[in-house]
């Protein structure tokens, strides 16, 4: 807890939401808690060791200071590591609380091992003023994860007029993006990148040339041809990435490329990264897990933007993580109602929820199938995204507010509807067998436990 105000928010939250909290296995941390005998992975110091983590009133403490009152969670056989950080989520508040709220999104994040989430501004209204940033910052204070608003680059996401980015930063904006509505006008993108330079925050541009995308509904290729669905070619993305990287290298500003989906895009980023330090990029679990063959079922849960592409693209994204061209994993958690997905493919909304299936999916693809080290995977979910956003990433030193995840590395489990904490159920991972399961998440003096916890 960082301040009295935060404590008060939290207090009222607990009183009001006690019932919900119990139902979904959320509890307030005991004063002293020992995470005993786990395999500790600290990505900040690049070390894996067996040991204990002591949490004293919500902060990391010295294990030797435990007392008789100290509650214990036996972590033998489990991994203890930094709480995950998702830099690309949609919590839909304000405007579409039927899909997700800051609260339900936070609960979903906790269940997925995330303790820190950056939320995109494409709400109703879009987050394009310092007042709206302030609303999000204040409202999310009482919820169990740290929620950071991303502000819009242009007013009403119109792609024309810059927002008050300076004032928005003062209220807590951590980055700027017109997500969902890519900035098409190159001059506006240049202005935004130049303007943001002294703020030292990244601009995140959903990289897509909307003219090249046209009415495309899925990746343009043999599968789209077979299905008769209009295609969205890979170069609609890579062309825009090229433009954005040219501009950012000219202005020297920070740029972050979200949800990279194509081999051509990896190549573009790779080329620029050798000469230019301020570029970073992310990939989603679903682009790592699925290829466009999955769309043959016309299942609208596979409809996402950018589209899921070919097996070759998928393999190049994995390679991109391996080589460091892609910095981190971000979920692009995009909740939609059943009504918006239960329709024909052309009319269905784009996006899938992703927070709760993330770890099981990426562990399966990267560690189980592609022999990544667990430590590398943990970095893609912790220090790497934190570095992109400029967050503190030294989480296990004493006095730090505890942000911890405890997971069962090799556990095979089925992702099912009834476990979902999000307000929405739009996920093609439902029914999939995933590997690696979140057991506990600790954040902001609260603990999520997958099963009933007696402490």
């Amino acid at each position: 807890m960082e301040s009295l105000q935060e404590w008060l928010y939290f207090f009222f939250y607990v009183v009001e939401k006690n019932e919900i909290m119990n139902k979904v296995n959320f509890k307030i941390l005991p004063d002293e808690l020992l995470l005993k005998n786990g395999k500790i992975i600290d990505p900040f110091i690049d070390k894996v060791y067996t040991g204990d983590i002591f949490i004293d009133k919500g902060r990391i403490g010295d294990p030797s200071k435990q007392t008789k009152k100290t509650k214990i969670i036996d972590c033998s056989g489990k991994i203890i590591t930094h709480g995950f950080c998702d830099i690309h989520s949609h919590f839909r508040e304000p405007g579409r609380e039927d899909k997700e709220t800051l609260e339900t999104g936070s609960l979903a994040a906790m269940a997925g091992g995330f303790t820190r989430v950056c939320v995109m501004p494409n709400t109703h209204p879009p987050i394009d003023t310092p007042e709206l940033i302030d609303f999000l910052s204040k409202k999310s204070k009482s919820y169990p994860v740290h929620v950071h608003p991303i502000g819009a680059v242009t007013k009403n996401q119109d792609g024309k007029n810059l927002t008050e980015m300076g004032l928005m930063k003062k209220q807590g904006a951590v980055a700027f993006s017109d997500d969902g509505l890519p900035i098409q006008d190159g001059k506006v993108m240049r202005m935004a990148l130049e303007y943001i330079k002294p703020l030292d925050l990244p601009i995140i541009n959903h990289a897509e040339d909307v003219c090249l995308r046209s009415d495309g509904l899925m990746h343009e290729g043999l599968v789209s041809t077979n299905l008769g669905l209009p295609g969205n070619p890979d170069f609609a993305e890579s062309v825009m990435i090229h433009r954005d990287l040219e501009l950012a290298s000219f202005t020297g500003s920070k740029i972050h490329i979200p949800h990279v989906s194509a081999e051509k895009s990896v190549a573009q980023i790779s080329k620029f990264k050798t000469q230019f330090k301020n570029v970073s990029s992310e990939v989603t679990p679903h682009h790592l897990y699925f290829n466009d063959e999955a769309l043959s079922s016309f299942d609208t849960n596979f409809k996402v933007a950018p589209p899921i592409r070919t097996e070759n693209d998928r393999l190049s994204l994995i390679e991109g993580l391996k080589s460091g061209v892609i910095d981190c994993i971000a979920t692009d958690h995009a909740p939609h109602t059943l009504e918006e997905k239960e329709t024909t493919f052309d009319l269905a909304s784009c996006g899938m929820i992703g927070l709760e299936s993330c770890f099981g999916a990426v562990y399966k693809v990267l560690v189980y199938q592609n022999k990544f080290k667990l430590l590398s995977l943990i970095k893609f979910l912790t220090i790497n995204p934190r570095n992109v956003m400029g967050f503190d990433s030294n989480l296990f030193s004493y006095e730090k507010t505890a942000e911890i995840v405890i997971l069962d590395e090799r556990k095979k489990w089925k992702f099912t509807e009834d476990s979902i904490k999000s307000n929405s159920l739009n996920s093609p991972f439902i029914g999939e067998e995933l590997i690696g399961r979140i057991e506990f998440t600790i954040s902001k003096n609260q603990i999520y436990s997958r099963t009933k916890l007696d402490i």
Binding site: L227, L229, F298, E342, T344, F345, D346
Partner: protein, 307 residues
Amino acid sequence: MSLKNRHLFGLKDYPKKDIESILDLAFKFREVLDRPIKKVPSLNGLTVVNLFFENSTRTRISFELAQKRLSCDTVNFSASSSSLKKGESFKDTAQNIEAMKIDAVVIRHPSPGAPKTLSKFIKSIIINAGDGTHEHPTQAILDMMSLKEKFGFLKGLKIGIIGDILHSRVALSNIYGLKTMGAEITLCGPPNLIPEFLKDLGVNINYDVDEVIDWADALNVLRIQRERMGIGLVPSVREYRNFFGINQKRIEKHKKDIVIMHPGPINRGVEIDSAVADGQNAIILDQVLNGVASRMAILFLLCGGKK
């Protein structure tokens, strides 16, 4: 005799044996259509709904006639007269109609995949009568029947498909069906309207229509929609006619009989001239009659088991 799949969504990966069964039965029903009394009691007592979310004259009448010749009860639903305009969802419309106890649905819809989506909402047997730019399997069956009627075989036949392949469900279903039956296919039309990916399905692409006429035993000439003219896809009618239009002069130059097909409706003077469409090598009206027989065969094979 029954088919492997319960529904007819498309001809991709459709079993060859089942296409043969449909064609064999279609020829038998074709004989029925030549009798003075053209009705058989095969599907007496079954109810089929023709669910048309997109305009159609030929296909809808063809299905309706096929159903009537088989003695089943039919109900027609078209989007313009429906509650869809009042904002009712696709799912609600489908479930409401099924709640009235029906056995099969013939669906036409502008969205690719709509028949498959429909199958998640209702339990009836579903027949795709054209879903956007995806498939039109009954058209391909009647095209194959017409070719078989003309040539006696399909294996090794050389078929040229001319026109806007990218937006054509007829082309896609023809490709799948004809490839399964062992025919050879060459696609021809403006390059921006032919997806290169189709080469992976084992078809040829040739942008020179005269070469294709020289090569082919039959041409399937697709309708070029006038609304696609002049919006960046096809520069003008004149340009299209000049490079891809099927006219008498072009046909005569090749000094051979070449069978002319067209799925209709024809844009006379655009993709095909009247002289060719009405000429002795055209089997366009045979296609229409075979459409009824083919759809009778499909309905019988899919729904007959229900009786």
